[in-house]
């Protein structure tokens, strides 16, 4: 191995920097092409990690859909297909504007670039506005992840506290709805951007003005999304019909649910059954299958010896397991028999529907976080575009953000049918 003097065209000055580097070329790259290729490979790898990041949740979706298809079918009725479709359209359109923005940056159409970035940002904001309506509507109804699920089919829309009176009462958080909470930070941002716009108008700072104008439009678009969502959510009676259908169907099924004790006694062989969770719809009578009856008896007998701590803890674990599964059978004598029986019942309980809504919130929530991250980088791009940073040789960042944005769009394209459409 040897270090042969390279030709003068690659020679560097003594400090290791090429002073004929253009300003956009980082010191450790030789050519703009090398820099662009590196960035491109980097962003593609990053997108691979993003896909794998979401893959965990897609796996969870597949597993739980396979385990409980009825729950997924019943619960997806609560998702408003119209809102989902609007959001799909908005995101698809934003992908178009983003691709257009990349093109504009390549042909040095700076005005078009700023416009297209602003359009993409506005679409992102509309998406979030519609999402805010969807989320707040479900939260009001108590359709929450399993641990927080409080939906009551008999009373799907719990009454809100009385509307505030007096001019300042609107600022009292006690009366805020979930929607108000979601909108508050966006309203603050909107007010801030408007103040910035007015300030830049007053001081006649062209650069600030050029940045603040599109940002004002974009942050206003959040409320356009909220308005759109509100109209569709209230006017779109179709979804509500479906929802009430679902509610009624589940209420009908609920009748069976009120008598779990009877079910247990019918299955009969347990001496004393203690229902640990009356809420449950699956009644599990746990014991070994009848073929293993003798073995169980032997184990119980062995467990009476205090030195057999292993078998004791095994039996304790079985009891705990069965109690967690819904029903615990405590017997005096050493006989536990019976088979596992499953009683089909309504799905709108925390333990059933909660899982669907957990997956729904995890997937759409993390997707929304990606939208927020996308908004942040788009704003950064917008500022740089106004600054005329991009040219024919240096449009990498627009390209990379574009790829990211398409991925976020693509993930939504998968989420929409999986969560909203497949019934």
């Amino acid at each position: 191995m040897s270090t042969i003097e390279a030709g003068p065209e690659t020679a560097h000055s003594a400090d290791g920097h090429d002073h004929d580097h253009p300003s956009f070329l980082a010191h450790h790259f030789d050519t703009p092409e090398q820099q662009f290729d590196s960035g491109k490979l980097g962003i593609w790898l990053f997108l691979v990690t993003e896909i794998l990041f979401f893959s965990g949740m897609f796996c969870a979706y597949a597993i739980f859909r396979m385990l409980r298809p009825d729950v997924f079918e019943g619960c997806s009725q609560f998702l408003n297909t119209k809102l989902g479709a609007i959001n799909t359209g908005v995101l698809l359109f934003s992908s178009l504007t983003m691709a257009w923005a990349v093109r504009c940056s390549q042909v040095e159409d700076n005005k078009g670039l700023v416009g297209m970035l602003a359009a993409t940002l506005s679409c992102a904001m509309i998406f979030l506005g519609v999402k805010a309506i969807e989320y707040s509507h479900k939260w009001e109804m108590g359709l929450l992840p399993a641990g927080l699920f409080v939906y009551d089919p008999a009373n799907p829309h719990p009454p809100r506290p009385a509307p505030p009176e007096g001019p300042w009462a609107i600022f009292d958080p006690a009366y805020w709805t979930y929607l108000d909470y979601i909108c508050a930070p966006f309203a603050l941002i909107f007010v801030g951007v408007v103040i910035w716009l007015i300030y830049s108008l007053v001081t006649a700072n062209k650069f600030h003005l050029a940045v603040a104008k599109p940002l004002t439009v974009a942050s206003m678009c959040f409320f356009v999304g909220v308005g759109l969502g509100t109209i569709l959510e209230s006017g779109g009676s179709e979804s509500h019909v479906g929802e009430h259908h679902a509610g009624e169907a589940h209420a009908a099924a609920d009748d069976g649910h009120d008598h779990p004790d009877g079910e247990t006694h019918e299955s009969g062989e347990a001496v004393a059954a203690v229902i640990v969770e009356p809420n449950t719809n699956e009644i599990l009578v746990v014991g070994d299958e009848s073929g293993n009856k003798d073995e169980t008896a032997v184990r119980q007998r062995l467990a009476t010896d205090s030195t057999n701590s292993g078998i004791q803890s095994e039996i304790a674990a079985r009891q705990r397991q069965s109690s967690v599964a819904g029903t615990s059978i405590v017997t005096e004598d050493a006989e536990i028999t019976g088979a596992i029986e499953k009683v089909e019942s309504e799905v709108l309980t925390a333990r059933q529907a909660g899982v669907f809504f957990s997956i729904y919130y995890c997937m759409t929530g993390i997707h929304a976080i990606h939208i927020l991250a996308g908004i942040a980088v788009l704003v950064w791009l917008l500022v740089r575009a106004v600054r005329h940073d991009f040219n024919r040789q240096y449009f990498g960042p627009v390209d990379y953000v574009g790829l990211y944005w398409h991925l976020v769009d693509l993930i939504w394209i998968y989420l929409f049918p999986l969560l909203y459409l497949i019934r």
Binding site: A6, V48, F64, P145, A146, G354, S358
Partner: protein, 581 residues
Amino acid sequence: MSAGSIPSGKVRDPGYPTKSENYLTNSKGILSWMFTLDHKRIGVMYLVGVVVAFAVAGLLALLIRLHLFQPDGAIFKGSDANNTYNQVFTLHGAIMVFLFIIPSIPAALGNFLVPVMLGAKDVAFPRLNLCSFYLWVAGAIFFVSALCASGLDTGWTFYTPYSTSSNSSVILATSGAFILGFSSIFTGLNFIVTINTMRPPGMSWFRMPLFLWATYATSIIQVLATPVLGITLLLLIAERAMHIGIFDPEFNGDPVTFQHFFWFYSHPAVYIMILPAFGIISDLISVHSHKRIFGYRFIAYSSIAIALLGFLVWGHHMFTSGMGPLTTIIFSALTFTVSVPSAIKVFNWLATMYKGSISLTTPMCFAIAFIFLFTIGGLTGLHLGTLATDLHLHDTYFVVAHFHYVMVGGTLVAFLGGVFHWWPKMFGKMYSEWGGRLAAVIIFFGFNLTFLPQFVLGSRGMPRRYATYDPEFAYLHQMSTIGSLLLGVGLLVALVVLIHSLFRGKRAPANPWGGATLEWNCTSPPPFYNFERAPVVGDPYDFTTIEWDSENERYVTVDPEREIAPEEKPETEPAHAQGDH
């Protein structure tokens, strides 16, 4: 350029860096380190960080071993003893895995070496590189705060449902691991892009040093596996905070799903830990045997093979978790396939040493210790991959001994070998060769005394993660504890030798070992710009032109006398003449 005692041919040696060139001294002040974008400084900061993490986790390990000196437990007493023990072994495992082993070789040594070995000025994304370091720091802070808050007692695997019900600070620790995951992803991404796009003219894929191949394979795993850990931990945090019911059986979740998700990352993570060690050993064996590496392409391909096969074997951690019989058989069979590329490497290293002229330097001592210990670790893995024996050995000390042979006997020893090998390059100082060898020998014996008895313990039925044990195991446990103290002494000697060299060490020449890879072509320590102009690359394992200059105690590259006639075929072709680029 000074002349050596070998007069034949034209001697080339980069000499020594001036103070304003040396990357350690070219700018001053704490801020010049904190905001540096120089991959070498970031590598040094990583090195300090992982060593501190290793020291903390190592002390916890010593606490565990001292506690186990007596059957009833020697250190933690009282009603809370078991709890304390759980927290100590959990933190030992979590800190060692997430803060030390995973970033040790790729982040600390890799950051320093990858661009220099490529003859590049820096990694492809220097800011992202600094960002990964600070993510590592943030993750470490989360772990420390978990330790200070209410500890962590779930084991480093965070298995549900215990982790969703435990009172300890699981959320803090998992957030820490989540952040560390992103640090690891960004490092891996950076290296893949750097190796793909920034190789110098003439360095085709098969002229890369094997350390780069190993780093590349590691990076693939980091990029592909770590996001799955990220989402798993995020779901676990959501499970604890909101009871989303995906992993928690109380809400109809499935704990085994967590295990699948977790091991889908964490088994490949085992290869994140060991693959870079393979890379170091390949380089060490070849350089210190002064012989061309045997089976270069096999070693390179086997790294990639391990990286890919590593994704298919996660189920072997769950043979007893209630998977179906067919699934367990398939996972068992796939597990055996991973041993093939690992064995290929070991055979190639042995063949490289055969008839080489081996210098028993400190790095070589570590490399030989690695081959011995890793072989034991790898072969005992076969017992655990076999379904029948695994049912007996699962969750016993046999497992503990097995993975310590791979992780400590493998990764840590290789890391030490690598640090001793590249220390002169990193800091420009030669350490005491005698002290280094002493450390290697003590570590080797201390390690074996610690973990060989644990194989016996495990096969006799001693379960892991217990604070007390039957008196019949006392003898073996005490052997193990004494061994761990000896291992600690060995590590301390190694640290003292290295620190001592910083103050009293002789100035290191550019090429103290006779290596042919690019990093030995720049000064020790390298200038901040690494190479003034892109170096032209030859074979990284061709030692024919490297000769010992006894007068100046260094290796130099000797260009043979050249004829003027160009037809006489030059030793190295110029870059633009090579077609395979």
